[in-house]
């Protein structure tokens, strides 16, 4: 059982949630990568981060690093509205720039990494909401 507080239109509700799978359901195994079936050409959502990430991990607004390297730049501004597939960041790895694209349309909310940082594969670079 888990007690959650939910706010709907300013009104606070307390709800009890029963986790039916609790006990057997260990953290999602890395092998069960979520697959998008809607469109095969759409990038398949990356495997979940190996370490248990903060609550928001896995939400498609998180733009993940495609390969370990150095974050060169963010190619958008905070607050900017971007379409899905917009180039949002550049990572340098293996003597080559790799462009990172928006995983969904929305507004750029937050830069999680810093330009110049070494970023790991699947680390969150920025958030779009």
């Amino acid at each position: 059982m888990k007690k959650l507080r939910v706010t709907v239109e300013g009104k606070v509700y307390e709800v009890l949630v029963e986790m039916l799978d609790e006990g057997t359901a260990a953290p999602a195994p890395a092998s069960s990568a979520p697959v998008t079936t809607a469109s095969i050409t759409a990038p398949v959502v990356a495997r979940p981060a190996p370490k248990p990430a903060p609550a928001a991990a896995g939400v498609s607004g998180d733009v993940l690093c495609p390969m370990t390297g150095k974050l060169m730049s963010f190619d958008v501004q905070i607050g900017q509205t971007v379409a899905e597939g917009t180039q949002v960041a550049t990572v340098e790895a293996m003597k080559m720039n790799t462009y990172v694209y928006a995983s969904k349309a929305g507004k750029v909310l937050e830069f999680v990494a810093k330009p110049g940082d070494t970023v790991e594969e699947h680390a969150v670079l920025l958030r779009i909401g």
Partner: protein, 517 residues
């Protein structure tokens, strides 16, 4: 004196009943779901009116569990030969309306007979799978049926092209016949392929997983790499099979269906020059290079969603049917990793066994560094590419576009691995490693003892880069056939393909090599 009308009527009636498959109601139900019947699938695949059926009247002889005397039209699988774009092809389609398309001994025998026929006659073999699995009433007979099919899949491998369409369920052992064929095409909807389903996984391991996550076309195309093409629906799947066959010979002793023009055009293609970024670090989308290299920008990409850091495709270059293997710098910097090596190696071997010349487009910074790669066995996986290239005796033409570093350079078929010609663009960088890394190893003492170590390092790096980040050092040692302008690529590759078509290379006789797996 004419044949008795009664006999003709009897034949007509038998055909009518058998064509109704599992019954008019079941066929109607399928239609309502928007699915084609097994017969409609074969009709859609073959040129109109060319399908000749084998074994329409075959019946099972199972007496167990209520099957005695139960009719199973065509025993749940339609087999035969027809023409696809004018060339003969053998094909079967499992009929889900007949006992759920289940595989019994006669069903298996029909598939085996057709496969043997296709091998003798030297024609491609295409299967449309839509089956609930083994016909369990037949017990071991059904299991034996699968075994006999697998055995023939292996005998036919490298003799005739084998293509499987998955257009329905394909579970457990049944998935291994497709896996033994050359290409798998799977429909987006209504098709699942898996060894153990979600329920078995849950019972055995406690892991919760959905069918889509393990068995869908999307999962197999992008993650497991089990399939080669994703189709919108069954009709599209058969169109992909037709397109694929258009590049392939009917068997291993024939040449691919080249369509060479009388003359080779050597026109320069200025736009190819424009595709090459000035900045060596800016990624180059290699599919754009392929589009300009091949006829009408038309190429059929294989395993498009799997290991995107390497692109493999079939195309024609001034009429010559080829297989292209190209690094994709726009994905994972074009590095070679475990999946990319597996993907490329199997494709190279397919091209070799069916006499398709190979064209390699190189822009590779190296093997992908990482613990996962090392522990995952990148050594034995990367070795597959070396093995496949070295053992291929078809024409091999390599174009080094930009980066060609270290072991990954060797894995992309340079002259030492048996390339017949290696062309380099002026942007080619052929070196054992990157300048920064090389200088740190070579000049460690000079740098640390210099008055200004960082300036010294920069100076030495620039010197190293000037020497090796250009094709001329390699060309001066004879590793490069010629340095060419990107604009010349299509014309020169086309001419080289023409004059290597009669290439003959013999190897020491042996059963087979021992490719690292």
């Amino acid at each position: 004196m004419a044949i008795s009308p009664a006999l003709l009527q009897e034949l007509e009636e038998k055909r009518k009943t058998l064509y109704l498959a599992g019954g008019a109601d079941k066929l109607a139900e399928r239609k309502k779901k928007g699915l084609m019947s097994a017969r409609e699938r074969l009709d859609a695949f073959f040129d109109a009116g060319t399908f000749m059926e084998f074994g329409l009247h075959v019946q099972h002889d199972c007496q167990n569990f209520g099957l005695a005397g139960k009719p199973m039209p065509a025993d749940g699988v339609i087999t035969g030969v027809g023409y696809v774009e004018g060339r003969p092809v053998a094909a079967y389609a499992q009929d889900f309306t007949v006992g759920g398309g289940s595989l019994g001994s006669k069903h298996a025998q029909k598939i085996c007979n057709l496969m043997e026929y296709a091998m003798k006659a030297g024609m491609p073999f295409v299967g449309v799978n839509d089956s609930g699995g083994a016909r369990i009433q037949e017990g071991d007979e059904a299991l034996s049926g699968y075994g006999k099919i697998f055995f023939r899949n292996v005998l036919a491998s490298g003799v005739i092209p084998q293509i499987t369409v998955i257009a329905g369920p394909c579970a457990g052992g049944a998935a291994y016949s497709p896996a033994l064929t050359d290409f798998i095409i799977m429909t987006k909807k209504n098709a699942q392929m898996f060894i153990c389903g979600p329920e078995v996984i849950k019972a055995a391991t406690g892991q919760t997983v959905t069918m889509d996550e393990i068995g869908s076309a999307a999962a197999h195309a992008a993650i497991s790499g089990n399939i080669h093409f994703v189709a919108e629906d069954e009709k599209h799947a058969l169109q992909i099979a037709t397109k694929l066959l258009s590049f392939l010979p009917s068997n291993n002793v024939m040449d691919p269906p080249h369509k060479p023009a009388a003359t080779v055009t050597l026109d320069r293609d200025i736009e190819m020059n424009e595709l090459v970024p000035e900045d060596a670090k800016a990624p180059l989308d290699v599919t754009k290079v392929i589009s300009r290299l091949v006829d009408n920008g038309d190429f059929l990409e294989v395993q498009k969603d799997f290991a995107k850091n390497i692109v493999i495709c079939f195309a024609r270059i001034q009429g010559i049917s080829v297989g292209i293997i190209a690094n994709q710098p726009a994905h994972k910097a074009g590095t070679l990793d475990i999946d990319a090596s597996d993907k490329a190696a199997r494709f190279i071997r397919f091209c070799n066994v069916f006499n398709l010349p190979i064209v390699n487009l190189v822009d590779v910074p190296g093997f992908l560094p990482g613990v996962v790669q090392e522990r995952g066995g990148i050594i034995r996986h990367g070795a597959k590419m070396l093995f496949a290239y070295a053992s291929a005796t078809v024409p091999k033409i390599t174009v080094i576009m930009r980066k060609a570093y270290g072991g990954a350079y060797l894995a992309m078929c340079p002259v030492d691995m048996g390339a017949d010609a290696v062309y380099a663009w002026p942007t080619a960088e052929i070196a054992v490693m990157g300048a920064e890394g090389a200088v740190k190893v070579l000049f460690k003492r000079e740098i640390t003892s210099a008055a200004d170590p960082s300036a010294k390092e920069k100076e030495l790096t620039a010197e190293y880069r000037k020497k090796f980040c250009a094709p001329y050092e390699a060309a001066s040692r004879g590793f490069i056939t010629d340095v060419i302008e990107p604009a010349q690529t299509r014309g020169i590759v086309a001419m080289m393909l023409r004059n290597t078509l009669s290439k003959r290379e013999t190897r020491p006789p042996k059963k087979h090599g021992n490719i690292p797996l």
